[in-house]
Amino acid sequence: MSIGQIAIGRNRGYRKRLSKLGLLGWLAVFVLFIFGVIAIFGSALAPHDPNKIDLAYSYVGPIPGHPLGFDELGRDLFSRLLVGARTSLIGPIVLVISTTLIGTSIAILAAWRRGWTDAGLSAGVDIAVAFPGLLLAILLSTVFGASLWVAIAALTLAYTPSLARLLRSSALRETGMDYVKALKVLGFSDSQIIFKHLLPNLAPFIIAQAIIMFGYATLDLGGLSFLGIGVQPPTADWGTMVAAGASGLLQGYPTQTLAAGSCLVLTALSFAVIGDRLARIWGVE
């Protein structure tokens, strides 16, 4: 009856769809792959000790053996960038995983239980969503001292409500489907239905959201380090490097801020592109 029925059914094979990632999509995957390798082997790859201070070399430009030159305290920029990759990528990975786990369980619990549980959780989410992550990060850093893990904990608390709210609406749609009711009547247990049907069907949406969240996570963690609440010096981290290099930038020594800044922007951009493409492929807007 509707015009839609006329179109031949869309094919859903995974392999075919991934090819539709597009040139830009594959470029983004390549960039992330490179950063991933650096994050894992960073310290091994670094030609010099990233924390060795030598003010005589402060802001010295690139010289042989030091492709990017030195920062304001005379530390080798290239090594700091490589080692910095670890904190700047491990941080978001842990953040996204923890947020996705908590967010998904809240969403499914709310969508499955409905009734009081749903009302209670949703009210809690409404309150928490209004609470910006940055304020949480500041408060937690006051209590437990500023460190990467405190920043991650704070951002997890900040990201989870909005993710939970997003996933709850799609979880509600899925639990509303008749096949879920039929499975219940057939005698399947709640956990069987959730883990064998609900989660697999929501998986594409959850993964797409997680990937998009990666971009924001990288930037926010970098921001917290910039404010001195995230990664503490002297450990190398892109966010702190942007902050530290800033006064140099204004004096014509832009390498540190631009290098660290572009790494942050490039990572966030790649995640955004992949997330966007995947969302479109899986027809999940």
Binding site: A123, P132, L135, L139, T142, F144, G223, L250, A268, E285
Partner: protein, 314 residues
């Protein structure tokens, strides 16, 4: 209507009490000790440190301190800041206006830039759409603190169009000239988010049946777009706007540090780093109250604009 509003106000009040209690508890548990921060590692005799602790009543148990703080708030006395050795209310008063200027100017940029991009992309397929979405994606990847330095370097130092630092001397004209660059830096990621949501919402509305009906009834395209598509599409964007506005207030900390603007965001970061209880609590209280007020305003606006909500609740 009234029942709906009372419920929202109740929820708001609960949020305020819950958050301030939480903040107070958090600061109370903080292992460090503000006086230590005050000295910043400088030597000071034990007697002098004890005298200072007494001055900022740091030794009272948690509950008495919270009660004395709350009663103080109602009498308008927010306590004295240990880090600045000044009355908290004077400290915040002078900075609140600066941050509000910054947030409002930034909000203007976000709505103008976000909405135009979003509507343009939503209404036109092909070129314009992919171009605007590409810009939105790129801009959303530039965090405020990276953006600030680029803007300072290019527009303030090299081109000299705008002042590089400071929040202006309070007058509107100087505020606008000083706050343009930081406002733009703040607007990058939020604007991109608004653009993307508006585009999606426009797409949903233009595919809806009632737009087909309007076309079939011969309503001209521009009227269909303005009356039916854009107007309906803006509703979800409004609630998003409320959230963004609230998030903006705190994220001013980034640009305030980069542009050396004396605002609430920057002050909060400094206060938190120095465990200045009175100041952190006061700013958090103000932020939470503004969250609740903004969310309430958005709810009321939503109630007025979207009749569907009314029938749902009634």
């Amino acid at each position: 209507m009234r029942r709906y509003l009372w419920r929202r106000i109740g929820l708001g009040a609960l949020t305020i009490v819950a958050t301030t209690m939480l903040v107070h508890l958090a600061l109370y548990l903080a292992p460090g000790d503000p006086i230590g921060y005050l000295l910043n590692g400088q030597p000071a005799t034990p007697e002098r440190i004890a005298a200072l602790r007494a001055q900022y009543n740091l030794d009272e148990p948690f509950f008495t301190r919270y009660v004395s703080w709350i009663t103080g708030v109602f009498q308008g006395d927010l306590g004295t800041s240990a880090a600045f050795n000044a009355d908290v209310s004077t400290l915040i008063a002078s900075r609140f206006q600066t941050t509000m200027y910054l947030v409002l100017i930034s909000f203007v940029f976000i709505s103008v830039f976000g909405l135009t991009l979003g509507i343009l992309a939503g209404l036109h397929k092909g070129g314009i759409d992919s171009f605007s979405m590409a810009t939105a994606t790129i801009l959303s990847s530039i965090p405020a603190f990276v953006g600030s330095f680029i803007l300072i370097n290019v527009f303030a130092l090299q081109l000299g169009w705008f002042p590089a630092i400071g929040g202006g001397d309070g007058s509107l004209s100087s505020a606008i000239s000083h706050m343009t660059l930081p406002a733009i830096a703040l607007a990058f990621s939020a604007g991109a988010f608004v653009a993307r949501t508006t585009r999606a919402s426009i797409r949903v509305e233009s595919a809806s049946e009632h737009v087909v009906t309007a076309t079939v009834r011969g309503i001209p395209r521009n009227k269909v777009v303005s009356r039916h598509i854009v107007r309906n599409a803006l509703l979800p964007v409004i609630s998003l706007g409320g959230l963004l506005f609230v998030g903006l207030i705190v994220s001013t900390a980034f640009v305030e540090q980069a542009f050396a603007i004396n605002g609430i965001g920057g002050l909060l970061v400094v206060a938190a780093r120095q465990q200045d209880f009175a100041l952190v609590q006061a700013i958090t209280l103000i932020l939470v109250i503004s969250f609740v007020v903004v969310n309430l305003a958005v709810d009321v606006l939503y109630w007025i604009l979207d009749p569907r909500i009314r029938s749902e609740v009634a």
